[in-house]
């Protein structure tokens, strides 16, 4: 039973990793940019929930909505201000990467200035009796976290596969130049992708700050990095891969701690990354496409 509980602990955290990893994946798939500011979008989402619920006293649904809107706006704003010109001018990838790191540090410092570096406590958002299956107990937060993220990922899969904008996203991802020739507004598609990824991160932040109710300006750093590892592990560019990667990373973390090796947790996570990159550079579910020259 203890083992089953540890797996569920992993699935719960893994759901959040997966939601964040999706954002990395979509953006990387479309513009080939590893958006390191993505982890900090979660932090922005967390503070929006804090402002809405604790400072303004709004109900949960308003807070969630506000958080989604602000995160989507922030994601798009960063794309417009920081990345757009670099993308248009065909700047080298390293410039984009460094700009992304800069955006990440900027967000952390901005929020440290606004809210101070000491942690802010979040109200408990998801309450209710836990589910008991035999001696296995699953808390309400865990259930909601897993359910919400699975639903969102299924919904995202539908959007990408079945809608016009999804088709445009896939086309831009495949070959942006050809997509333009086919009459697809790639600029709008890229903006949409940033917005959608950030909105998912906002939902992730609500779930995350509900499970771990103390937020700091730096909370996005390690979380973003782990989610990035999950994205690479699952196969960057593959949406089911992001899910799989998130679950695998979090479950292995949870089991490492359960065996009393908490010191090795990060070593295990990044060790997995190294092994996967050596054995299967495209990730578990990634397509092994050659870089176009």
């Amino acid at each position: 039973m203890k083992f089953a509980s540890q797996i569920i602990n992993g699935l719960s955290l893994g759901s959040i990793y997966a939601l964040v990893a999706l954002g990395y994946n979509m953006v990387y798939g479309i513009v080939g940019l590893i958006n390191f500011a993505h982890g900090d979008i979660i932090m922005v989402g967390g503070y929006m929930v804090y402002v809405a619920m604790v400072v303004a006293g709004a109900p949960l649904w308003v807070a969630v909505l506000a958080s989604i809107l602000v995160c989507a706006f922030t994601g798009i704003f960063i794309q417009q201000v920081a990345y757009q010109r670099l993308l248009n001018s065909g700047a080298p990838r390293i410039s984009l990467l460094i700009t992304a790191i800069g955006a990440s540090i900027f967000l952390q410092n901005l929020f440290q200035m606004l809210f101070s570096s000491s942690g802010k406590s979040m109200p408990s958002m998801i309450t209710g009796a836990p589910l008991n299956i035999g001696s296995l107990q699953i808390s309400r937060v865990t259930m909601v976290t897993i359910a919400v993220s699975v639903l969102l990922m299924a919904g995202l899969q539908l959007v990408v596969k079945k809608t016009r904008i999804g088709k445009a996203m896939r086309a831009t991802s495949e070959d942006a130049g050809a997509a333009v020739l086919m009459g697809i507004n790639t600029k709008r598609t890229i903006v949409f992708t940033f917005g959608l990824g950030s909105a998912l991160a906002a939902v992730g932040s609500v779930l995350y700050s509900s499970a771990y109710p103390l937020i700091t300006p730096y909370m996005g750093g390690m979380l973003g990095l782990k989610a990035f590892v999950a994205a690479v592990l699952g196969g960057i560019g593959s949406l089911p891969g992001a899910m799989l990667g998130g679950y695998l990373i979090a479950v292995s973390e949870s089991l490492t701690k359960a065996f009393g090796l908490s010191k090795l947790t990060d070593a295990v996570v990044f060790g997995i990354l190294i092994v996967i990159l050596l054995v299967r550079p495209a990730g578990l579910l990634g397509k092994n496409t050659k870089e176009k020259v």
Binding site: P123, T127, P213, L214, M219, E253, S262
Partner: protein
């Protein structure tokens, strides 16, 4: 009971005064000594050193005010060795060089017989080093680093050191809570957390308790569910969590969510945890126990009397440091009285044998010149901190 002990102590002091009077050839009788000393203007000079200005002045001001009050109290009852106590106060501005300079002035110009100070760890270490030359008896009210009293045989302290809290809480779990099994969750990258946890385990094992689960984490992670799952499965009577309040807030909320029934226990790093818990989560720490050196709502009448007198005299309420400063001065003066002399070696000798009942607990000194004393046990009730008892 307390009153009785006080009376007994006073009687013992009076007796020792008589003894001193008999031993010394110059002063004929203890009762007469007071007036004759005052007549000649002879005083016992005790140095008090602390940061009265600068970033850490809040500690220094409290410690020195407390120490001055202690000297006044003793003077009101006749002083020590039949003489009045004269406080020689210096401001070291939180700087170790200033502290050593002030120390040298006290010894060379003012001829103090003992020192109450310093206040923070770094200057205290510097002064303790300087004091090795003459072996001047000194007691710091508040410097908690282990190395301070290791400097020399003449250096004592009034506050307890961090690991001592582990010992105290293990005893509390065994004796007062009747715990048979325990679990520990601590941050093994943090000296404070590690030190307190190790001493807790040693003491708990020695007291006959069994370790159900020992879990560690590294600061920076908000996720403790894996460790708490292990602890829950082990089902201990108490769960000891010697960590700082931000991590603690996250741990207790997750423990509540997982339905862990063990009594939660901690050390003074818990101060401030209520500020990191939203109102909807404050019940996560209900009924948990932790220790500290001082509780403003202590039911001890001596503490309440001190708080009132300090507030009247200084216009603001004292913090823990004021009580420690008071105790440090009282301990030093009592040792001088016990030693029947102002000779450094004799005072140090008397310090090691001292039994003192103070505001921050009853204390004696161990072989490392750290106090063995009682602590204040606190608990949480409906989102507020509450004094339970003195223990130890």
């Amino acid at each position: 009971m307390k009153k009785f002990v006080c009376c007994a102590l006073a009687a013992a002091m009076a007796m020792s005064m008589v003894a001193c009077g008999g031993a010394s050839s110059s002063a004929p009788a203890a009762s007469a000594a007071g007036s004759s000393a005052a007549a000649t203007g002879d005083t016992v000079k005790v140095g008090v050193l602390g940061p009265l200005t600068g970033a850490v002045s809040v500690y220094g001001i409290n410690v020195t005010n407390g120490a001055k009050m202690a000297a006044e109290d003793v003077n009101a009852k006749g002083g020590v060795l039949g003489k009045q106590v004269e406080v020689v106060l210096y401001d070291e501005k939180g700087d170790e060089t200033e502290a050593v300079n002030a120390y040298n002035k006290m010894v060379d110009n003012d001829k103090v017989v003992a020192l109450i100070g310093d206040v923070t760890t770094t200057p205290t270490l510097a002064v303790a080093q300087a004091s090795q030359e003459t072996g001047l008896p000194m007691i710091t009210a508040s410097a908690s680093a282990q190395a301070v009293t290791e400097t020399g045989e003449n250096v004592f302290r009034a506050c307890f050191i961090d690991p001592y809290q582990g010992e105290l809480m293990a005893k509390y779990a065994a004796e007062k809570l009747g715990a048979k099994t325990y679990a520990v969750l601590y941050d093994d990258t943090n000296d404070y957390s590690l030190g307190v946890a190790e001493v807790f385990q040693e003491t708990a094992d020695a007291a006959g308790m069994t370790a159900a689960s020992v879990q560690t984490y590294q600061s920076g992670t908000p996720d403790f569910k894996s460790q708490l799952t292990e602890i829950k499965a082990a089902n201990p009577d108490v769960l000891f969590i010697p960590v700082y309040y931000e991590d603690l807030a996250l741990i207790t909320v997750q423990a509540k969510e997982m339905g862990i029934s063990a009594k939660l226990m901690g050390a003074d790093g818990w101060d401030g945890v209520l500020g990191k818990l939203d109102d909807s989560n404050k019940d996560a720490v209900n009924g948990a126990y932790y220790c500290s050196q001082y509780a403003p709502d202590s039911t001890d009448p001596a503490v309440q009397d001190f708080i009132k007198r300090y507030t009247d005299a200084n216009g603001e309420a004292p913090n823990m440091f004021a009580l420690l400063g008071y105790d440090a001065m009282r301990m030093m003066l009592q040792s001088i009285e016990d030693a029947c002399s102002t000779d450094s070696a004799a005072i140090v000798e008397a310090m090691t044998k001292l039994e003192y009942e103070g505001l921050t607990g009853n204390m004696t000194f161990d072989e490392n010149r750290n106090p063995v004393k009682s602590a204040v046990i606190l608990t949480f009730e409906n989102g507020t901190t509450k004094f339970v008892e003195n223990f130890g």
